[in-house]
Amino acid sequence: MTIHASRRDVLKGAGALVVGFSLAATLGEVLAQGTKPLALTEVDSFLAIDTKGEVTLYSGKVDLGTGVATALPQIVADELDVPLNRVKLIQGDTALTPDQGPTWGSLSIQIGGMQLRNAAATAKAALLEEAAKRLDAKKEDLKVVDGVVSVGNKRVSYGELIGGKSFALKLDHAKPAAAKNPKDYTLVGKPVPRVDIPDKVTGRFTYMQDFRVPGMLHGRVIRPAAIGATLENVDETSIKDVAGVVKVVREGNFLGVVAESEWAAIKAAQKLKASWSKSQTLPDAAKLWDEVRASKVAKDEVTSNVGNTAEAMGQADTKTLKATYDFAIHTHGSIGPSCAIAEFKDGRLTSWSASQATHNLRKQLATMFGMPVENVRCIYVEGSGCYGRNGHEDAAADAALLAKAVGRPVRVQWSRADEHGWDPKGPPTLIDLRAAVDGAGVVTAWESEFFIPQQTAGSFNVPLVAATLAGMPAGNDIAPGNIFQNSAIPYKFANVKTVCRLETTPFRPSWIRTPGRMQNTYANECFIDELAAAANADPIEFRLKYLDPNDKRGIEVLNRAAALAKWEKRPSPKRDDRGGEAATGRGIAYCKYELARTYIAAVAEVEVKRSTGDIRVTKFYLAHDCGQIINPDGLRNQIDGNVIQTMSRTLIEELKYDRSSVTSLDWATYPILRFPQIPEIVYDLIDRPNERPWGAGEPSAAVVPSAISNAVFDAIGVRLRSVPFTPDKVKAAMKGAA
């Protein structure tokens, strides 16, 4: 091992390949000095091993209830050959964890996990090199068991090798260090039980909503009566009877209360009399799709352009099919409303929240308060599942504003109505599709247009509500989350995909699980089913005919879904429909996520009650190929979530609003799926240990709406083109088809 002069030289990036540990400070000292490395190019940014051999893992990707707090340590423990219980995970702390990007887009394993694997493999190679010297042996003769390197009867532990120092090793994620041979993995690929579940079922787990800091006060926000309304008057005497109120905080249109106890804060927020100006900025809900269609187009993008569709559409013996699909506005619907704590001390802001993007939040808060970003520290504390950018960041901004106003740490817990009313929404999506089928039944052209909000270039910052209301720097970025993805199709015919980026969309948009990919795949996979039906072809066979024959994994996933569901080869709709009260059907949907990674194919089996229009999904089959599976049980758990949550979104969910504000402010007005409606879910998880792992947090959700719509068509011969598929819409569609 080469001992380097100082860690500072290394950090300066002299360019030399660093092959050993530095004589740098111990981790404790590094933390005390606030100099913990955070660069993605340093092993020390990700990994530390103390003298006892305890491993600390620093992850910018966080566990949002998806199980990566188990899976990420699994990857690292296996790579290092240490027991899983000796790996401690620190997540999403801007002072300690590298910025690996927000925890989104099914990238925690695919990107975050592979960066960690690279760090672990790099560290291990250096440890073995050092061990070879100390044990006077060849590196390839060394054996590692539980963090102890041995050859014959000579042994040395990782703790002894590192000797309390840091690694000072460079990383190149484009050229990762050689990882273990997949056949030698003992933890990767195994259904390791989740590390957090015992504490979660016994009440020992500390969620963000449980977290407390000394001297803390409780805050609540009072949001405008209408979106865009101006705060005209606040009558503080209205809460004079509430004991324990510390302060009413009014800043522009931001209004909040701070109290000694949580209940006092709640009562004060409920009783505080405030008057707001009238504001009607929202579209008429009954004419939403007309408004979306009429919205000004900021930018028109073509996401794929193959062949000449206009020419194909104009051919004499060609039939043209057209359809329009829409997908409602959805809310994240976290069971625990957003919560955060903030503290201003000595010109520095510390923010605790369940943000999925603490590094971005740090910049947003610094901008909001006009502070140097170095003076803001954001720390992740796991909260209720968020499924995207819900209200966690907004609660963090609320807490910071209130904490600054009272000079003490403040905890803000949103109410149910705050969460349903003010989290950013999944934007409404409208999609037009056209296709040409020639005399021989061959699809010769496919055109589509997506009416979706624009994405502010290079920004994924959803403006913070508190900053906007208070008139503090907030920006007005639009960040729905790369929702053009999967607008292009995997099928090989002449096609043009136009993505219309609308200048505006009702409500502040953000990403909700499988943003855009879900809506776009729904329209595409339903419309391809329409084409199959028009060609009187079996829907799976029809898809296979147009898939790239070289895309073997795509073809395999479709075939395996068919086998899993014992798919009966025939066209839809079902011919032997006897017209009874309950009609049954099955539908297929396929997706290659972002046309670049995880493959999924699903078969839904449904029962439709003709008199009521009720759809029941009885069984859901899913074939899933995300490459190397890190934890098959965690994967199943995640896919369960994708399927069930998306069934809920597909069948029931729709944000309700009037011209002023959201009106579905609780679970009665924004219902979600309940236990009696849950289908049996059957999986075929394709494990490819020698391939790299791809994401699984979102892809399986993409196929749910279309599989259900296609199954309903199979059952009753009626095409559902408007999510949610409520009984009223089913009945209306049946009436229209009759």
């Binding site: 579940i197 020992r204 209940w263 149910r416 995640q638 979600i672 009696p676």
Partner: protein, 155 residues
């Protein structure tokens, strides 16, 4: 005016100081007694995340005013249901089935199921689903939760 209130929580008599006798039990448990089991979800008795047992019955603590409780009534929270070394069969089954994603709703699922199983010894799967029909889960852990309750029922 601050006043004292006696409660029996997890087998112990506790005295807390409160300003409002109508404060819901949930806030006494979480803020005065620092318990993490019962969770705030809606404050409207719609989701079940706050469920505790009062004399063995599953109760939504977010809408249970303290004034409605006597010091004789036995309040049990998730923490008091079983101990880490000696888990309640429902808690054990939830671990064995790995029945949690974010886990925020799981308190309610366990408390509701434990009360249900105490009076329904051999439930069918449909009965379990009905018993939990008013407990909401957003992550989509329902299938595993049902399996866990069925496992606990046969334990």
């Amino acid at each position: 005016m601050a006043q004292r209130k006696s409660l029996n929580v997890n087998g112990k008599t506790v005295r807390i100081s409160i300003d409002d006798p109508d404060m819901p039990l949930l806030y006494a448990l979480r803020d005065n007694l620092a318990l993490h089991g019962p969770r705030f979800g809606c404050g409207l008795a719609q989701c079940g995340a706050c469920t505790v047992h009062v004399d063995g019955k599953a109760v939504r603590s977010c809408v249970t005013p303290l004034s409605s409780l006597t010091s004789q009534q036995k309040v049990v929270t998730l923490e008091g249901l079983g101990k880490p070394q000696r888990l309640h069969p429902v808690q054990r089954a939830f671990i064995e089935e790995q029945a949690a994603q974010c886990g925020y709703c799981i308190n309610g699922m366990i408390m509701e199921s434990a009360a249900f199983l105490a009076k329904t010894k051999k439930p069918t799967e449909a009965q379990v689903k009905e018993a939990l029909a008013n407990n909401l889960c957003r992550c989509g852990t329902h299938a595993r939760i049902v399996k866990a309750v069925m496992r606990a029922a046969s334990a």
